[in-house]
């Protein structure tokens, strides 16, 4: 398949690996920020190919994983009113809030619908004028523009029954928080699709202030290995900068139109991240112009204090301090079928990827 097969060629993988092995003279701790990178690294079995002095850590870039319990509890509270239709991306369905998940609510008769696009929420609202439709808007800079488009369309169509519960977040503050929390990183393997929207300038602080190698990577095995080689070269030379490996998708200036729509609809706020706590100016909320569509302002939430599963170390894993295998719940009581923590729920979560694609040999 064009644009896929080229980046999976075994001889290119072998060449990159031999260069990596030749040039990796020290010890390297690289963090892949994005959940899709974690997934790809495991799916292609890359950890079994890399030398031991290169450690890959999963970061806080899985949107479902970093969504905090309060948000899930709010979504669950919304389902209690049988006049509400809660519309969500599929992955969020299984995340446990206090005692139950949205899937449990659906089984109990709540109207919870899975969609594939934010625009599907408009269709559902149009078809159900007598109901309140709440779209659970989660994700990073990749999905926020799509929510922004839905917000603007809903506003211009004057849909009175569609609301957005935003948990959208932006990537750089969490990447800073991870380092500020004390972990030593040699480099960041930066998210490809986030960067397609934001461009490369959002990462400048990492090479400049933190002396961390920074490469924006694609998702195929040669992309990831090439990016690792680029990171090694930055570390070895001490010439830290933000480089784009994923040039076929990411331009330095990003997607200006998408950012423009995002900026029209959203403004920054301090936000809660599962495992990382409150991070200043890291979340996106609807601007006052769209207050009518903001579920946070239009509904009164009475939600319980969040309960975290004792023993679950999702927070430590999201910070790169621990690996899924370090958790005593991993693959015993916590499995993709019965996830105890968010990192096991999402296909992009590191526990899920480690479970699904266990290394061999």
């Amino acid at each position: 398949m064009k644009y896929i097969d080229e980046y999976r060629q075994k001889h290119l993988v072998d060449t990159l690996l031999s260069n990596i092995k030749a040039e990796a003279t020290g010890n390297y701790h690289f963090m892949e920020v994005c959940g899709s990178h974690t997934h790809a690294i495991r799916r292609f079995g890359l950890p079994s190919l890399l030398p031991e002095n290169i450690r890959l850590l999963s970061g806080p870039g899985c949107p479902v994983c970093v969504t905090d319990s309060n948000y899930i509890n709010k979504a669950i509270a919304l389902t209690a009113d049988r006049n509400n239709i809660v519309v969500t991306y599929g992955d969020l369905l299984k995340v446990p809030g206090n005692g139950k998940s949205l899937r449990d609510c659906r089984e109990e008769g709540a109207d919870v619908r899975v969609v594939y696009s934010s625009l599907d929420a408009l269709t559902i609202a149009g078809q159900n004028p007598g109901k309140s439709v709440i779209f659970l808007a989660i994700g990073f800079e990749t999905t926020a523009p799509a929510t922004a488009v839905a917000v603007q369309k809903s506003n211009s169509q004057n849909l009175r029954n569609l609301f957005f519960l935003s948990a959208h977040k932006i990537m750089p503050p969490a990447m800073k928080a991870v380092i500020d929390d004390g972990i030593t990183l040699s480099g960041y393997l930066c998210p490809g699709h986030v960067s397609a929207i934001t461009g490369s300038s959002i990462y400048e602080t990492f090479p400049e202030e933190y002396n961390v190698a920074t490469v924006i990577s694609g998702f195929e095995p040669t992309d990831i290995l090439h990016s690792i080689l680029m990171l090694i070269r930055q570390v070895n030379s001490g010439d830290f900068k933000t480089e784009i490996q994923y040039k076929r998708a990411v331009k330095p200036e990003g997607n200006q139109r998408a950012r423009q729509i995002m900026n029209q609809v959203f403004e920054l706020r301090d936000d809660q991240w599962r495992g990382l706590g409150t991070i200043s100016e890291s979340g996106l909320q609807l601007k006052d112009t769209y207050a009518r569509l903001d579920a946070n302002r239009q509904f009164n939430f009475r939600i319980p204090e969040p309960e975290e599963n004792s023993g679950c170390i999702c927070g430590e894993i999201l910070k790169g301090k621990k690996q899924p295998e370090d958790c005593r719940l991993f693959a015993t009581v916590c499995t993709p079928r019965n996830p105890k923590g968010a990192c096991m729920v999402s296909a992009e979560g590191s526990c899920n990827a480690h479970f699904k694609y266990r290394n061999y040999g």
């Binding site: 079995g45 990073f140 694609y357 061999y360």
Partner: protein, 337 residues
């Protein structure tokens, strides 16, 4: 002819008689049905028979490459064939929701007849029930089947013949059926070229069994996909598999579909595919026989049996990495980004 199925069509009275004669008998027509006995009396050509059953529920009922009727025949035929049996006779049980259209029912029945003819089997008995609106989703079909087993092949079913070093073959691309169904159901991509592989491949199996004596085991790949089936066989036999990802055929449309939505082709259901495990000797011949058949033309040798890691399926990925190939454990949901 009436437009819709009514409760009365399942009452056992005149309306039922009319339905049987004007739809089922009309299309399935054969000597056993014409006899109108409470059971069909069939000739047994062999001492050993294989006997299986499966129920078919699918949404949408009609999809690119097939429909519920075709599926209900080929699924049961394939279940018989992979145990080494020659599929002979099927029964068909219909549970129909009140209000279902006669036209769709007739299309499904015609399709069953066409597939039964393709596979060389006869539908010799049947049953119809009509349930109230909302008590079933349009139409469900159960088919049971019997097939005849040569003495030579009577031990193929259990996996007990599989040995360390045996070769694993696959008769073509994986994931076509489930990708076509999900796409038809959810309307993700128009003209995506996704077509179900739904087919009765008993003809290919017969050639294999008639022309070689090295086949140790066969199993059709349905729910759970290739990964699920390999895992099941590994657990069942306490042997392991070494599978090479780059040898597994995946159609371009299916690959594109899976890449876009974050699905794993090796987890996707098939309806016309099977694994064949054979002794290493004559493995070239096994592959050639499969490739020479319509339903095996993309056949490939995808790996081998090993006793090194009992119960585990190890995948050498396209990048050359090694990892466990896990069966799917959760419902498929498209990724967020």
């Amino acid at each position: 002819m009436d437009d819709k199925i009514e409760i009365g069509h399942g009452s056992g009275g005149l309306m039922t008689q009319k339905l049987i004669h004007e739809v089922f008998m009309k299309h399935f027509d054969n000597e056993w049905l014409r006899a109108e006995g409470d059971s069909a009396i069939v000739e047994s050509t062999h001492k050993k028979i294989a006997f299986t059953t499966d129920s078919y529920v699918i949404n949408p009922l009609f999809f690119p490459g097939g429909d519920l009727g075709k599926l209900a025949v080929c699924g049961t035929v394939n279940d018989l064939a992979v145990t080494g049996a020659r599929p002979g006779y099927l029964t068909a049980g219909f549970i129909i929701e009140e209000g279902f259209s006669f036209e769709s029912l007739e299309a499904i029945v015609k399709s069953m007849k066409a597939e039964a003819d393709n596979a060389g089997v006869c539908i010799v008995a049947g049953d119809t029930k009509v349930v109230e609106k909302g008590k079933a989703d349009q139409i469900f079909i159960n088919t049971s089947g019997v097939g005849f087993v040569d003495n030579l092949h009577s031990s193929l079913a259990g996996g007990g013949l599989i040995k360390d070093g045996d070769v694993v073959f696959l008769n073509g691309t994986v994931g076509d059926h489930e990708a076509a169904i999900i796409n038809a159901r959810e309307g993700f991509f128009e003209s995506a070229g996704l077509v179900s592989d739904c087919a009765s491949f008993n003809g290919m199996i017969r050639r294999l069994l008639d022309q070689t004596d090295t086949v140790r085991f066969m199993r059709d790949i349905t729910r759970g996909g290739l990964a699920g089936i390999l895992h099941e066989v590994a657990q069942m036999t306490s042997l392991g598999f070494e599978i090479e990802e780059n040898k597994i055929p995946v159609g371009e449309s299916v690959q594109a579909f899976c890449e876009a939505l974050g699905y794993e082709p090796l987890h996707m259901a098939c309806e016309g595919k099977c694994i064949v495990i054979a002794h290493e000797s004559e493995s070239g011949r096994v592959e050639a026989i499969m490739k020479n058949h319509e339903y095996g033309k993309n056949a490939a040798r995808i790996g081998k049996v090993t006793q090194k890691h009992p119960g585990e399926v190890v995948l050498e990925t396209i990048a050359g990495g090694r990892r466990l190939l896990e069966p799917p454990r959760e419902a498929k949901v498209p990724r967020i980004c």
